[in-house]
């Protein structure tokens, strides 16, 4: 028979439709409106998983996100998701689920042997048992423990689904859509507030969903809310973090209830909600009682059994025992009985109460002052052991369902993140939210106001007050639930039933923490609730101890001999329930992790086969391989073309900053170690900028375009940092200087035309303009027109050859680039990329990122002639500190391999030593390349003694690869040290 445990009537399921699903390979049926848990119960499946540490058989314990036991893997392959509580997984047709943490099968699990060795796996066992020998930890113990303990398996493939972020703003955020939440949203909405109502369930109503008598009221509220244009209702959305400034995070499971997201849809959405006011109507969570074997499949929270009967129309058992310490749980007995489930006994830890009398009047057999002291049955409850609390032998009560209620704890996780410290309420035997510290208020059961009617009234007041606090007074009066039975809140705390024998009384089902473990932690000195938590891992599982956290604290309090309010509960932190990494990442994954920045010539590079490299945000051409070229071949070809003919390189990524204003010159004088106010218009000058601490910040050429107009160029990597540095000084250090800064990096495309034939090439491209040495000398700046587009021409060189940089407004980049290529064709022009550019600058001995690494001074880099003798500049004083002036500091040199065998390669990061086996490093290699001029490996290095070692023969060693290369120390300027070519 299909769904043998489905009740004949009732429930919020759609019996007209059958959904087929699979659990551990079994084909099963359910209905729309089911969760995976309710459908499993309907099919009589009780054993759904194995526990974390002892691999004990586990069933379904709750009916909500607080579930500690029934964690499953959902879906398969790339969409496989571990650790999903079956109690929140919405059933859909074709759903595939598998139990986890078992091998080879759920029913017959090898890891269960851990339970036999439980005495060797006490709390904190990994801190003490596996300490020796130390080498065994990483290789032996840890892998074994991780295999045995551990939860489900994450998918190994790339997640095929999309996730996204959403920012929202509202006057009032209402978290939870039970009686309190609905009334709060309605009250705030009718006052005209912008309201967001977030509900973690797929159905709105919270506890009302198990109260058919109030369903009309629920529907009326929802209908009214849906009419309000400023109310946004978010089902399947868990608010899981409460941060400063009333910013809250929420995860919306947009498509988790579908086999796959619809086209163009996302799987989940992470909401960042900025709320003026927040109403926390998060309800309460029923607690367990720690009695021996309280984890057996068939032991279930009382309210869960009621929810399964009322909302899902499934019988969690046929013959039930109720174990309670409070009056409210009697509703479960009454409800189950109405549903045809036999109530074998009501076991009440108290001597008497109003509910005891009421139950007896209704004909239930109640055992006051009694407790459940054990369970018979392994993979399923077969009977409960019941005994009097006054002593005497336990008797066996045959049952397949033990409903347990240790009372209710307000779900104050969000409130306590605000961080309002929870306050103990002795009458209700629970912590309630403390005095708000942010713009929030709790309402209904979330603050200990129990009962549908009371909660609705409380929520209505909270909603109205929240709207008023957000500046929206008034609002309609709404009808509240009429039939209001007084909330039965009478409770006498009963936390634990001590075991006679070996039975384990769990306070944390998911992490297999027992009451005994808590006492052990106390005995071993971990008596603070935060220490006990970490020592035992109590409350550290994915359910964060929602059903047993307070019970553990109570056991600890008893061990310490103190009141529970003095012990407290551990701090609640985000996330209230687990959230997928996908939702947090949103669209920022893979190549969208960071936005890609493209040069205005990017399309040309792609069309022309460039190999691209990410450098920071930029995608830049590394080289342009021709058919059949591999390895260094294209790089060397491009570099040779520059040395022998002419090359064209996209340098648009260089930072460019417009500096304008009457004080532009003096401003730059203070920022740079050299002087710019004396630079004539139409000229460029190389400059070095220090940080305040005296280290080199950046270098580049600055051109004077007009009397009050300079153009600063920075390296690609430091563009943003240099602009920030300049803005900081302009705004805060020298506010009196009249200077304006503006990044023009993106406005101008820039390209280097370099090589002995650069002038002829550019002359042909630029037309009438005279480019002779007299008209445009080295470091000269001119304007012109290429291909009809305006250009600026800077005679600067990074390669060491006769070279120009041509800048044009980015919209003309390709026109100008193509025109220069056409003009240079006769001279053998080739485009060259980042690799050839690096090769050329190393040959020339120009410093770049590897040398200007934030730890080098101008002196270290051989740039001391750039330090002006008179006038102040940023970094001057600190650069003069004795430590930075120490002559033994490593300084820049060139190195050359003695051999021309390219297989004996130099590497950046190699140490320079006197003899191959010498352990004393004299310095390190910063940049290396194969040289086209010297036909061997060359490089730059930072070396003790620096240039004084010129001519010495030393060794570059790279022990990681067992490489030793004999090198000669040279000037960093491997090519044209006289600088004649650039002036040619």
């Amino acid at each position: 028979m299909s769904q043998p445990h489905r009740l004949a009537t009732g429930g919020r399921i759609d019996r007209s439709r059958i959904l087929l699903f699979r659990f551990d390979g079994r084909n099963l049926q359910g209905h729309p409106g089911d969760t995976l848990a309710s459908a499993l119960i309907a099919n009589g499946v009780r054993l759904v998983g194995r526990s974390f540490k002892y691999h004990r058989p586990r069933g379904i314990f709750t009916a909500g996100p607080e579930e500690p036991s029934a964690l499953v893997e959902l879906r398969s392959d790339a969409r496989r998701e571990p650790n999903v509580p079956a109690t929140v997984a919405e059933l859909f047709d074709g759903l595939e689920a598998a139990s986890q943490n078992r091998w080879p099968s759920l029913a017959w699990d090898v890891g269960a042997i851990n339970a036999r060795f439980a005495r060797f796996l006490p709390a904190g066992f990994y801190y003490k048992t596996f300490m020796w020998p130390a080498a065994f930890w990483e290789r032996v113990y840890e892998p074994i423990i991780r295999r045995a303990a551990g939860l489900g398996r994450a998918a190994r493939q790339r997640d095929p689904d999309a996730y996204e972020h959403m920012h929202a703003h509202c006057d009032v955020l209402v978290v939870g859509s039970g009686a309190a939440g609905l009334a709060a949203a309605r009250a705030a909405g009718s006052a005209g507030a912008r309201v967001i109502l977030a509900e973690q369930d797929f159905e709105l109503g919270g506890g009302l969903l198990s109260e058919p008598a109030h369903d009309d009221w629920r529907k009326a509220q929802l209908a009214a809310l849906r009419e309000m244009p400023e109310v946004r209702i978010l089902p399947r959305t868990t608010v899981l973090g409460y941060y400063d400034h009333n910013v809250l995070g929420a995860a919306e499971r947009v498509s988790d209830h579908l086999p796959a997201p619809p086209p163009h849809g996302v799987r989940q959405r992470f909401w960042t909600i900025r709320a003026k006011q927040v109403v926390l109507a998060t309800g309460a969570i029923e607690r367990l009682i720690a009695f021996p074997d309280n984890d057996r499949p068939g032991v279930m929270l009382a309210s869960a059994a009621r929810t399964y009967a009322r909302r899902f129309a499934v019988a969690a058992g046929r013959r039930a025992v109720l174990f309670t310490n409070n009056d409210e749980a009697y509703q479960t007995a009454f409800t189950l009985a109405e549903s045809g489930i036999g109530i074998e006994r009501i076991v009440d830890s108290r001597e008497t109460s109003a509910a005891v009398e009421e139950a007896r009047r209704r004909g239930f057999e109640v055992l006051p002052a009694s407790e459940v002291s054990g369970i018979i049955g392994g993979k399923s409850v077969e009977a409960a052991l019941v005994r009097s609390r006054h002593g005497g032998a336990a008797r066996t009560v045959v049952a397949d369902l033990v409903c347990v209620s240790g009372g209710w704890s307000p779900a104050l996780h969000l409130a306590s993140q605000t961080p309002a410290k929870p306050v103990w309420n002795e009458k209700l035997a629970c912590f309630v939210p403390g005095t708000p510290v942010q713009a929030e208020r709790s309402a209904g059961a979330a603050r200990g106001v129990f009962g549908i009617g009371e909660a609705a009234r409380d929520g209505h007041e909270a909603g109205r007050a929240a709207a008023a606090a957000a500046g929206l007074e008034g609002g309609a009066t709404i009808a509240l639930p009429t039939e209001v039975p007084p909330a039965a809140t009478a409770i006498e705390a009963c936390w634990e039933v001590k075991a006679d024998g070996e039975g384990k009384s769990f306070v944390d089902l998911q992490h297999d923490v027992t009451a005994g473990d808590i006492r052990l932690a106390h005995r071993e000195g971990y008596s603070h609730v935060e220490h006990a938590k970490r020592y035992t891992t109590h409350g550290m599982a994915t359910d964060q101890g929602k059903t047993g956290g307070l019970v553990g604290a109570a056991v600890l309090a008893a061990a310490r001999g103190e009141a529970i309010e003095r012990v407290g509960v551990p701090t609640f932190r985000p996330y209230v329930t687990p959230v997928t990494i996908g939702a947090i990442a949103g669209r920022e994954t893979g190549r969208h992790l960071k936005p890609v920045r493209r040069s205005p010539l990017h399309a040309w590079h792609v069309r022309n086969g460039a190999v691209l490299l990410e450098t920071g945000l930029w995608l830049r051409p590394l080289y342009y391989p021709r058919t059949g070229e591999a390895g260094w071949t294209p790089i060397l070809r491009e570099a040779r073309a520059v040395r022998q003919a002419v090359g064209l390189c996209d340098v648009s990524t260089l930072g460019k900053i417009d500096v304008q204003g009457p004080d532009a010159g003096p401003f730059l004088d203070r920022l740079y170690t050299n002087t710019f106010s004396t630079l004539p218009a139409g000229r460029a000058r190389y400059g070095v900028m220090l940080r305040e601490d005296g280290m080199v910040l950046d270098d580049g050429t600055t051109s004077r375009l007009g009397e009050q107009h300079y153009l600063v160029t920075t390296t690609t990597a430091k563009a943003a940092e240099v602009l920030e540095h300049m803005e900081f000084h302009a705004q805060t250090v020298w506010p009196g200087l009249d200077v304006q800064l503006c990044s023009v990096t993106d406005q101008w495309a820039q390209m280097a035309v370099a090589g002995p034939r650069a002038r002829q090439t550019l002359q042909a491209a630029v037309g009438g303009r005279d480019l002779s040495n007299a008209a445009l000398p080295f470091m000269g700046v001119a304007e012109g027109v290429i291909a009809g587009a305006p250009v600026r021409i800077f005679r600067v060189s990074f390669s060491g050859e006769l070279a120009y940089e041509v800048a044009t407004p980015a919209g003309y980049a390709e026109h100008v680039w193509e025109a220069i290529l056409a003009a240079g064709r006769a001279f053998g022009i080739v485009p060259y990329g980042l690799e050839a550019m690096g090769l050329l600058r190393i040959e020339k001995g120009h410093v770049a990122g590897p040398e200007i690494n934030g730890q080098t001074t101008a002196r270290d880099l051989g740039l001391h002639r750039m330090l002006k003798k008179t006038g102040d500049y940023i970094g001057r004083v600190n650069a003069g500190r004795p430590g930075l002036m120490d002559p033994s500091r490593p300084s820049l040199v060139g190195i050359r391999a003695l051999t021309d065998d390219f297989d004996k390669r130099l590497r950046g990061g190699a140490h320079v030593v006197s003899a191959p086996e010498d352990r004393h490093s004299l310095g390190w290699v910063t940049s290396v390349t194969r040289s086209v001029e010297l036909d061997r490996w060359i490089g730059l290095a930072m070396l003790e003694g620096g240039i004084d070692r010129r001519g010495q023969r030393l060794y570059a060693v790279f022990p990681l690869k067992d490489e030793v290369v004999e090198v000669e120390i040279t000037s960093p300027h491997h090519v044209d040290p006289e600088n004649a070519r650039v002036r040619a």
């Binding site: 996204e164 703003h169 205005p600 407004p809 980015a810």
Partner: protein, 200 residues
């Protein structure tokens, strides 16, 4: 030789047509090819600059968070003492020269025509698309036509201008990041559908 037709940073990706779902309320997306200039007042010249611009262009320099327009020219406040001024593109440098002439000695003028790209997003769901990356509250109660924000959307610096009630937003982003920004916009609009229109 007159300047050739400039190429937009978005020409490689922004092709007219429909992308995403065939929804009932698609958003519309188009590039606006404008001349853009950053105008930065010299020290203590803000008032004189405002007067000069008002007299030369009939344009008011707006306070923070706002834009103002006169005929086809718009000014958007972007930082203390600085505005982005946009106008229809004519020839490279035209608008910059015009403003430099009007603001001589009162402001630093920097052409950003090709340093920025402008995307116009409009339609009933435009706010929902932007909310996927924009932290600014664009609700009609707190934002509206003529309101602007200097913000970050999808990790990209953006000057957001509400250009119309519809709602219509102009999104000014660095041209080198325009393609990345467009990719984000297109993905974010996919659930509603997106009509990509000819540049205007």
């Amino acid at each position: 030789m007159s300047a050739p037709e400039p190429r937009s940073a978005l020409s490689a990706v922004l092709r007219p047509g429909h992308s995403g779902a065939k929804g009932e309320t698609p958003v519309a997306l188009a590039e606006r090819r404008l001349a853009i200039v950053q105008l930065q007042a010299r020290k203590v010249q803000e008032a004189a600059l405002a007067a000069a611009i008002a007299s030369a262009l009939g344009l008011t320099l707006p306070p923070p968070g706002q834009a103002s327009s006169a005929s086809e020219t718009t000014a958007v406040w972007v930082q203390p003492g600085a505005w982005l001024v946009t106008a229809p593109f004519t020839a490279p440098g035209d608008l910059a020269r015009r403003l430099a002439g009007a603001a001589a000695g009162l402001a630093s003028v920097t052409d950003q025509t090709f340093g920025k790209a402008v995307l116009r997003l409009s339609g009933e769901r435009a706010r929902d698309v932007l909310a996927k990356g924009c932290r600014v509250d664009l609700h009609p109660r707190v934002f509206g036509p003529g309101r602007t924000a200097v913000t970050t959307i999808a990790q990209i610096g953006c000057v957001l201008v509400q250009a119309g009630e519809a709602p219509t937003f102009d999104l000014v982003v660095p041209s080198t990041l325009a393609e990345a920004f467009f990719e984000w916009l297109e993905a974010s609009a996919a659930e509603f559908g997106c009509e990509i229109r000819e540049p205007g």
